[in-house]
Structure formats: structure tokens, C-alpha cells
């Protein structure tokens, strides 16, 4: 890691007196949430699409032409990050009651959370230990299938199937990690790509286990006697039945993000950073690089199991066609787009990759073409993602 002498100088300091910081933070978060809700509730797709585009243009415009404003807002947010986080969590908790008129979006957000869980795990591979994993969808598929087979064919309760799925993914991750101790860079990307394809082929062909292309129907989820087919009624609050899975996914996402965040900021995270930037140097300082690499690979894969199990139970039906290479690539895009090593950026990345296309439905046919063009444009103009981790400004990303 070298210190560059051409570091851009910090923007001119905006002196904030009294309560300016917290007030700006509250206003910024409120604006964000109202825009988000407006985006989801608007029935007109073009209007809905104009919202994020306008927000992006306004943000970039401020960054370029109104530096003090941009610096002031970002500084206020950075100084009051706890407040912003608390308000955001509060926003997520009350969001289902705001979306009662458009329940479909509660379901979409649930899917966003589930993908975000997987993206957090993939970030451990891609962003933390620097393993280019192009087969994360394979782990996701294993999680979904283990959970589906356990609940549908063997009648396991939901939480047990969650544990089975994550253990299965953890063990597979350890196995793949152990097989690829010496394999790095592009070679690793191919091995993982192959792993994803193998899982897909097995899901299609092992009909006695996975029912092949017929797929598996899952029984409805039931937690502690509360069936997910009934809505939530607490006092005066009545929420639709989609809110059950929403809160479950939100809770699990919060837990997984917390675990990843704590890991990254512990001695293990420091070791990851050392390993990622210079494996040889890390070894010289007494870090057992191969062992830690295998363990971390397993740790990252575990989240795919959690996400896969939640996904299978939320959709209620799985078949191999959902777990192609496209899934792995979508997950990678979430991590890259959001910004590697940035836990909240990744959640935003998941939202962009899952929720934006929902509003692109009128371009049904051209959707994937636009997808590819947008991805290429982002890679060219913003290769560190929309929300780059500032701590990594000096780091060569990978390889």
C-alpha cells in the first residue's frame, strides 16, 4: 500500500454550529425515504424511473458544481451516522404500513433483502479475501434446494431447514476453498464458474433428489404457530400477509450485516485486508494464509445458504432455471455496483439490481440489453461502484 502524493485535497470545511448537523441528517434521510416510497408507489413507470435518475443527476451535479453543499451534507451524514442509521432502520420497520396500497412492493423488498444477504456473503469472497467467485449462485442454489427438500420431502420445520441449508453451504464452501487453495485470480473465477454450472446441471439431472425441471413446491412457512398465510394484527396495526416474510428477511439481513461488519472490524478483518493486498507479506507476518482463506471461503458461503433457504420459502416454488450463471452475475453486480467492502452500499446495490428492473417491465424484451449497457457504463465510469469505501482509496481492487 503506497501513499499517493496526488491525493485530492479535502473539500473546504463547512463550519456547522449547534444542531445544524443532526438537522441536515434528518432532512437528508427523510428526503431519501420519501423519494424511495414515491418510487415504489408510483403506478406510472416512467415517472417512477425519473425519480432515481433525477436523484443521481442532482447528486452528481452537487458533487461537481456545488461542492460546499455536497461536502456539508456528506460531512453531516458522516458525523451523525448513528442517527442516519437509526432513522433508516425505523424507516424500514414502518415501510410495510406505507405500502399497504401496493402490497406487491413488500414482496419485492423482501426479495431485495434476501439478495442483499447473499451479496453480504459474496462481499466476503470478492471484497474481503479477494477471491473472484463467479459461482456464488451455486451456493445459493444449494441453500434453496437443501431447504426445499428438507421442508417439502422430510417435513422439517422452517428454522431447522435454515440451519441445514447454511451448514450445507458452509461445508461446500470449505470444500471448494480447500480445492482452490493454490488457485487465484482468473483461474479461481473459472473454477467457481464451473462449480455454478455443475450445481445447475446436477439440479436438472438428479431427478430423484431435486425433482429435476418439475421443481419443488414448498409448504407455507409457520413460525411458533404463526402461519405466514395470515396477516399481522397487533393492536391497531393491521399488516398484509406479505409483511411476515418482510420482517423475517429484514431481521436476518440485519443480523447477517452485523456479523459481517463485526468480522470486518475485528482482527480477522485486518487479516483479510493484509491477505487481499499482499498474501506473501501476510504470510511473512505469521498469518496462516491458506487456512484462513479456506475458513473465510466457508464463512462467506454460509450466507448463500441462509439467503437460498429464505428465497425458496418466500417464493414457495423452486426449479433449476432460477439458478443459472445469470444469478451469480446479478449477485456480483450488486457487490461491484454498491462498492466492495461497503456494507450499506451493497444493500443499495441489491435494491438497484432487483427493484429498478421491476419498473422496466414495459421494456420487457429489451430489459436485459439495457441491463448490459448500464453495467458496462458503470464499470467504465465508476469502477469502484456507486458508493466506494473511502478507506480503500489507495488500494488496487484485486489482482
Amino acid at each position: 500500500m503506497s501513499v499517493d502524493t496526488d491525493v485530492p485535497r479535502p473539500a473546504p470545511l463547512v463550519v456547522m454550529r449547534g444542531h445544524a448537523g443532526p438537522i441536515i441528517t434528518i432532512l437528508a434521510v427523510l428526503t431519501f425515504w420519501s423519494l424511495l416510497t414515491a418510487f415504489m408507489l408510483t403506478r406510472n413507470d416512467l415517472v417512477a424511473f425519473a425519480i432515481p435518475v433525477a436523484a443521481l443527476v442532482a447528486g452528481e451535479g452537487c458533487r461537481r458544481f456545488a461542492k460546499p453543499v455536497y461536502a456539508g451534507v456528506t460531512r453531516a451524514l458522516a458525523a451523525n451516522s448513528g442517527l442516519a442509521l437509526g432513522l433508516s432502520i425505523l424507516g424500514l420497520l414502518v415501510l410495510p404500513s406505507a405500502l399497504v396500497s401496493n402490497v406487491y412492493w413488500v414482496h419485492v423488498l423482501t426479495i431485495v433483502f434476501i439478495y442483499a444477504i447473499a451479496a453480504q456473503g459474496l462481499n466476503v469472497h470478492l471484497g474481503e479475501i479477494g477471491a473472484i467467485n463467479v459461482g456464488y449462485g451455486g451456493f445459493f442454489a444449494i441453500g434453496a434446494y437443501v431447504s426445499a427438500i428438507a421442508t417439502a420431502d422430510y417435513g422439517a420445520p422452517f428454522f431447522m431447514s435454515l440451519i441445514y441449508a447454511s451448514s450445507a453451504c458452509w461445508l461446500t464452501g470449505l470444500l471448494i476453498g480447500a480445492c482452490t487453495i493454490k488457485t487465484t485470480g482468473d483461474y479461481l473465477s473459472l473454477v467457481t464458474l464451473g462449480f455454478g454450472l455443475i450445481v445447475y446441471q446436477l439440479a436438472v439431472n438428479l431427478t430423484w433428489l431435486t425433482h429435476g425441471t418439475d421443481g419443488i413446491h414448498l409448504p407455507p412457512v409457520n413460525i411458533l404457530g404463526h402461519s405466514f398465510k395470515t396477516g399481522i394484527d397487533i393492536g391497531y396495526i393491521h399488516l398484509p400477509k406479505e409483511a411476515n416474510a418482510y420482517y423475517l428477511a429484514l431481521g436476518v439481513l440485519g443480523l447477517c450485516t452485523l456479523v459481517c461488519y463485526r468480522m470486518t472490524n475485528s482482527w480477522i478483518g485486518r487479516t483479510w485486508a493484509a491477505m487481499r493486498q499482499d498474501p506473501l507479506g501476510a504470510g511473512c507476518f505469521g498469518i496462516n494464509v491458506p487456512l484462513l482463506r479456506v475458513l473465510s471461503f466457508g464463512f462467506g458461503s454460509l450466507f448463500a445458504g441462509v439467503a437460498g433457504a429464505l428465497y425458496a420459502n418466500e417464493i414457495g416454488f423452486i426449479e433449476p432455471g432460477e439458478f443459472t450463471v445469470l444469478l451469480s452475475i446479478t449477485l456480483i453486480c450488486m457487490v461491484i455496483l454498491g462498492g466492495m467492502g461497503n456494507w450499506w452500499g451493497i444493500i443499495c446495490g441489491a435494491f438497484i439490481m432487483i427493484a429498478l428492473p421491476e419498473k422496466l417491465r414495459q421494456f420487457q424484451e429489451l430489459r436485459y440489453l439495457l441491463y448490459g449497457v448500464a453495467l458496462l457504463a458503470i464499470l467504465i465510469y465508476r469502477p469502484t461502484g456507486l458508493f466506494a469505501n473511502p478507506k480503500r482509496r489507495f488500494e488496487k481492487l484485486l489482482g
Binding site: C179, T183, Y187, G194, I198, L376, I380, P383, L397, L398
Partner: protein
Amino acid sequence: MLLEDVLQQLVNGLTLAAIYALIAVGVSLFFGVIGVVNMAHGDVAAFGAFAAIAAYNVAAPQLGAPGAALVAIVFGIAAAGVLGVGLYRFAFQPLGEGPAVIGLLAAIAAGFIIREAIFNFFPSGRNPQPFPQMVPNNVFELAGIFVLLKQLIVLVTAVLLVVMLAILIQRTRFGRAIRSLANNKEVTLTLGVPVDRTLAATFLIGGSLAGIAGILNGLYYGIVQFDMGVLLTVKGFVAAVIGGLGNIYGALIGALIVGLLEAATSGIIPKGNAYKDVVVFGALIFILLLRPEGILRAARGKKV
């Protein structure tokens, strides 16, 4: 199992290997010069095949079958070559000296765009398209083994092209520039080699080879599909990696291994056709476990 079965599968495997080799050589060549795995390479091949179909359909009424076939082949190869250069200009060149994963993703995105463009803009491109019958369906029998004329054409073309490429790289000024680029870009620049032009030319050659592979693939199977590039990329990539990325001779060995393994699994193991990709990738993981840098990558000391 009879000896004839084995030999028959050997012929089929060699044909597959020939097609994969043309892709793998391109993947390896690009990796050598820009250090990026071009995941859109198979899609360039598919594009070449579709361009050839379009040209054939346009030219057939005026020129008759043989003339149209010639036009189609030339147009398909040219279209793929131009697309290769376009890929370099619009996907890889703007990235600059970015990290490897960004290049990989850019290639994936570019492949996506090509595939979806065929899907949306080729007339009924979402359905499998019949590839025009450019070669008669002659079959030769040799001691109980059946060899199709198509297979012979595929094999001979591939061998000729690979030999030509080897001569180009080893014996010409341009080839020396490519090898020098693969070794060290900065030094190559200081030596006065027009790096940008050389890279564009490399992509032209690699793209054309992919186009030929796509056309041969169409010729052999008689049918092409908009997403056939995915499997071609993956197989070519596997072959290049087994041999050692950046080494075109390694790519040939890799293609041979992949083609023969595939033919053996689908032809000799009962119900093996469904598991051929599983076997190929299993072999890949096994080979990389023994030789992490591929078969023909010399063990070099690590730069510290």
C-alpha cells in the same frame, strides 16, 4: 465396448476439440496481451454465425447456393472480426489499467449485450435458427468408423488456421509485437511499437477466428441459437485455462482434453450426455489442483 466405438468417439471428440481450439486460442491470445479473460468471445462466435445466416439469406436468391455460401462465410468472419475490434474499443480500452475483476465483468456485460442484441434484433432471433446447408452430407466409412465430410472440413480448417496463427506469432514482426506486449507493455511502448494498433489487430484476428469457430459450429450441428456463445465461451475458457492462460499451444492441448473428455462421456457412459459438463469441470478442478497455473505454464518464481 468395442474398439470401433472408441475410435468413433475419438473422431467426434477431435471435431469438438477443433471448434473449441479456435475459441480457446483467442481467449488465450487476449489474456496474453491485455490480461483480461474475454468472456464475450463465444458470443462473438455466435454473432459471426448469425451474420453468416443473414448474409446467406440475402445472397441466396441472386447468387445461388454455392456463391451465397462463400459470401456468407466471408461476411460472417468479417462481422465477427469487426465486432472483436469494437469490443476492444468500447469495452476494454476505456477501462484502462483497471483491476482484473472489472475487465472480467466488462466482458460479461459485453457478452450480455451481444446476446440480447441477437435475441431482439435478429428476425425471430429468440428461436433456434437452421444453419444453411453449405456442405453435402457425405459420409466416409473407414474400417467401421463413420467420418462426415463436415467433420473433415472442421478438422482441416482448424488445423490450418492454428498453424497459420502459430507462424504469424512466431515468425512475423507483428507476432513479435504481440509477444512483446504479453511480456511487458511499458517496455513495448518505449521500443516504438504502436501498441494501440497492435491490440486492435489482435482483437481483429481473435474475433475472426471466433467467427470461423461459430460458422463451423453452425455447419457441424446445422442449428444455431442466440445463447450458444455461453457454452462456447465456457468451453474455450476451460481449454485455455487447462493449458495455461496466455499460452496458445497450451490452449490447443486444453481443447483436445475438453473435446475428447466430452465425446467420451456422452458416447461411452450410458446417459452420459447429461453429465458431460460436470465431467469437464471436474477434470478442470482436478488439473488445477495439481497444476494451479495450467499444464504448459512454466513454474516461475513469484515477484515480490
